[in-house]
């Protein structure tokens, strides 16, 4: 009797949520895959659902394949690429010999992702060759680069800010608030602010440059300049939660460890590398994964500030799916882009779930 009552109330309680969950999360998720196998013109299908044409994997093939695409090693022989690679490898070796990498899975993952981002640049069509969809691979590369730099800039800067402001006192509360209040700004407001800051004429950067007698720098015309603006906006905007998380983690490191290290005569940098950093290693990984996952879906900033330009330099994957679906009216093609992005994000989500299940 009691059991029946439990069943009754249990289902009554979860029913509203479950209905919404199934109809607006699980069902659309299934339908995303379904649509991606069709040539699904938004207008034609709206008139008659029979107008959706089954095309199998053609949408995916169109996005991913190309003629004569090869891994081009020659792109790595420019000075800047060689310097980047050397810095990366030397610091990896340095961390390895100093035994800093031990027990610091967050840092290991950083190097892993850095190498992946570095070598993805090599996937290129050779001469006289082409991608079926030239923009798709560009957008994957753009998003990956912007995602990597935003996520790790946020992680490292948030860590530095958290360590710097991890003191008691009213003044530090004000300072912390100054740092993380930016997270309350909405994405459209953020974009307007950043356009205003980096505007070639009348932007604050130009005002400063002019003040010191330099010329304006055209951020929104230069490819790397506009990427920088998008990354800067993202970092400025999304840093508040990581700061809070790092502060919480820092305050959980037991005070005795610091005191013991001081008695042993450890220097400040030794304390940082061997006590502070291992103490928050778990949080480091969590924060960087959360940021990586959320900035693969970057859309608003790029859409409002640059519309993907100049020359597709800031065209992100979600922006591309959006353009396919609502500018070109090809829902099927857009859905295929979303599915591919889902698998990329799924990889990071999988790592997140795996590492945090094991630690329990």
């Amino acid at each position: 009797m009691k059991n029946n009552k439990d069943n009754f109330f249990g289902y009554i309680f979860i029913l509203p949520f479950l209905l919404l969950f199934v109809s607006f999360l699980l069902y659309p998720f299934g339908k995303l895959f379904y649509i991606s196998f069709f040539e699904w013109n938004i207008m034609a299908v709206a008139m008659d659902p029979a107008n959706a044409i089954y095309v199998g994997f053609e949408n995916y093939y169109y996005l991913l394949a190309g003629e004569g695409v090869w891994f081009d090693i020659s792109v790595f022989f420019t000075p800047i690429k060689i310097i980047t690679f050397s810095i990366l490898t030397i610091s990896l070796y340095y961390f390895y010999t100093k035994e800093i990498l031990k027990n610091n899975i967050g840092l290991i993952f950083f190097f892993f992702y850095a190498y992946v981002v570095y070598f993805v640049h090599g996937i290129q069509p050779t001469e006289d060759a082409y991608w079926n969809d030239d923009v798709f691979w560009k957008s994957i590369r753009n998003t990956m680069v912007m995602d990597f730099f935003s996520a790790y800039a946020i992680t490292f800067i948030a860590l530095i800010i958290a360590i710097g402001t991890n003191h008691t006192g009213k003044i530090y509360i004000v300072i912390r608030t100054l740092f993380w209040a930016t997270g309350g700004v909405g994405v459209a407001a953020l974009s307007i602010i950043m356009v205003q800051i980096f505007n070639t004429y009348g932007g604050i950067t130009s005002n400063f440059l002019n003040f010191f007698g330099f010329k304006n720098f055209p951020f929104f015309i230069n490819m790397n300049g506009s990427r920088f603006v998008v990354i800067f906006a993202t970092v400025w905007w999304a840093i508040s939660l990581p700061i809070m998380l790092f502060l919480a983690a820092l305050q959980q490191i037991p005070e005795e460890r610091y005191e013991a290290a001081k008695i042993d005569g450890a220097t400040k940098s030794e304390i940082f590398w061997h006590i502070t950093l291992p103490g928050i290693a778990r949080m480091f990984l969590l924060v960087s994964l959360l940021q990586i996952i959320s900035h693969w879906q970057i859309f608003g900033q790029a859409n409002i500030m640059t519309s993907g330009g100049p020359a597709d330099a800031t065209r992100t994957v979600v922006l591309m799916a959006y353009d396919y679906a609502f500018r070109d009216m090809e829902m099927g093609q857009g859905a295929a882009v979303s599915v591919i992005l889902f698998f990329i994000i799924g990889f990071f989500v999988f790592i997140q779930f795996k590492t945090f299940k094991e630690n329990e």
Binding site: F17, L18, L178, G184, I192, M194, I197, I204, A325, S338
Partner: protein, 273 residues
């Protein structure tokens, strides 16, 4: 004992002031008259001091379409927050404390839903809602955002921590499950519910992609969509007024973020366990 020179404090303070420069600058510009901003944005002290000073920009916003957007956003965000918090609390209580048949199957599925990035579903949601005829309505904006497994997860974790004795005493007194939830569990779980409410409100207020797709009527626009589509175009002529709008649009969420930061942190502490 001589007091040490507070080097850390000064470095951190300067860093914080530099970090928030965009904010000060925009704030200062929003208090300057439009006709001056058309000519230069660095009038006094590179524009950091609002001189000549005016309140006109904020005054002008009143009664414009900006006011409608603000109202739309407020209605949507408040409705979404109230509904989502109640739904999450109800189902969280059921998942944590009631042994009903099939819980062992349903709860893991809900948790697996955490892995689906909801932002990516805009294409199927659009086709779904246009066949339901719900695009361009507040219902269409609110419904898909209520299915958030994150809130259910937080509430479930919280209710699991409530001691058994409280509930057993109420059961002996003859209270049914709904009464227990309403009279005992809701008051006990106010902190966790605030966490869910804050996260939902912030998300709803700053939601951009889905309203952009779902709404096409101008008078239905939310704050973010309105700012992105209309304010950007008006920047040249009415810079001060536009920036005043930007400031106003950010005030509610910034206040929430600062005022309720400890609830946010607690939520993520529960979430990352």
């Amino acid at each position: 004992m001589s007091k040490r020179f507070p080097l850390t404090l000064i470095v951190v303070l300067i860093a914080a002031l530099i970090w928030s420069i965009p904010f000060w600058w925009i704030l200062s510009l929003s208090f300057q008259p439009n006709d001056i901003l058309q000519k230069t944005t660095s009038n006094t002290a590179l524009g950091f001091i609002p001189f000549p000073f005016t309140f006109e920009n904020y005054y002008l916003l009143w009664g414009q379409s900006f006011f409608d957007w603000f109202l739309n956003s407020a209605i949507i965000a408040v409705t979404m927050t109230v509904l989502a918090t109640i739904l999450c609390s109800l189902s969280g209580y059921a998942f944590a404390r009631i042994d009903f048949v099939g819980k062992k199957i349903i709860y893991p599925i809900v948790l697996a839903g955490l892995m689906i990035p909801g932002e990516l579903l805009f294409i199927p949601l659009f086709t779904q809602f246009s066949s339901l005829g719900l695009n361009n309505s507040f219902t269409g904006l609110i419904l898909p955002r209520l299915a958030v497994p994150f809130g259910v997860f937080i509430m479930t974790q919280y209710y699991k921590g409530v001691p058994n004795e409280i509930e057993e005493a109420a059961i002996i007194d003859g209270a049914n499950r709904f009464q227990i939830w309403y009279r005992i569990m809701v008051p006990l779980s106010i902190p966790a519910m605030i966490t869910v409410a804050i996260v939902t409100f912030g998300f709803a207020w700053n939601d951009y992609l889905w309203p952009l797709i779902s709404l096409s009527a101008q008078d239905m626009r939310t704050l973010q969509v309105g700012i992105a589509l209309q304010i950007g175009a008006r920047m040249q002529e009415y810079m001060g007024t536009s920036l005043a709008g930007v400031i106003i649009s950010s005030v509610p969420t910034i206040i929430l973020l600062i005022y309720f930061q400890k609830y946010l942190l607690r939520g993520f502490a529960i979430g990352s366990k």
